[in-house]
Symmetry: C2
Subunit: 153 residues, 2 copies
């Protein structure tokens, strides 16, 4: 998965994709984030993913600090692991919401559904949107692209 | 790339990732969107991607309606193709901006830079943010996840 990014490693999108540019990574994150899945067997069932691929991706998510592994033991069973998103993993909600926004608009499907995010305290829906510094919401079609340094000088 | 999604095809994130869950797809889109790249040789050079993989991914982007292929001919040279994002391709700015937001925050790098989006008419920076229906910006850490139908009933 990880390639030599070369000069492209300066780009934050390339660095994100070097880690996340494999659909299983983001599907596992979605499953944890939206469905609250924590157990290996539940990820396997929900995603229809081969066990060896799932184990590999969960290891990477733990190594990269996006998930934490905890042990648990059910009565009479052997010890097992469960997985919880870290703060860095939960922060991927902006990527998951972006994919949901695009998929809903450009790959609609009857009977489909999307992850959505609500404000914990009030239950209001929070949509992903482009906004200016003074808080105006801007239509994505009005935007042009540029590049900015990661840390403003 | 495309797998049998099964029941997961109901999810807009899964449908997006089934197409985009390969880092080259989104790096090509980023390159077209942020750097304005249109030509095969320019994509190849900017991304350090193997020509056969690039040709395959560009074909998929055209087939899926995210790019359009046009012919051009420079004086004395053979006819070549160039590639332009369609409206559906440009709408991926929300995904690219999401990846930039996460990469900048969670995979910072000295001297790094990010795609950013500005309002074409005014030049103001437009940031990707979660906002409520009444226009309040909400911190991503305050959000909880749920699922909503793609088309509200």
């Amino acid at each position: 998965m990880r390639k030599h990014l070369g000069p492209d490693s300066a780009c934050s999108v390339a660095r994100s994709l070097d880690l996340l540019g494999d659909k299983w990574m983001l599907l596992i994150v979605r499953e944890a984030l939206v469905s609250g899945t924590t157990r290996f067997s539940d990820f396997k069932e929900a995603l229809g993913i081969a066990p060896n691929i799932l184990a590999n991706r969960l290891d990477t998510l733990v190594e990269e600090g996006l998930m934490e592994r905890h042990s648990y033991r059910e009565r009479g069973a052997r010890e097992r692991s469960e997985y919880a998103l870290t703060e860095a993993g939960k922060a991927l909600n902006v990527v998951i919401a972006g994919l949901a926004t695009w998929g809903r608009a450009k790959r609609p499907r009857e009977g489909g559904n999307s992850p959505a995010f609500t404000v914990g305290a009030t239950g209001e829906i929070a949509e992903l949107a482009f906004v200016t510094a003074d808080g105006r919401r801007v239509s994505p079609e009005c935007l042009v692209s540029t590049r900015v340094p990661d840390v403003p000088e």
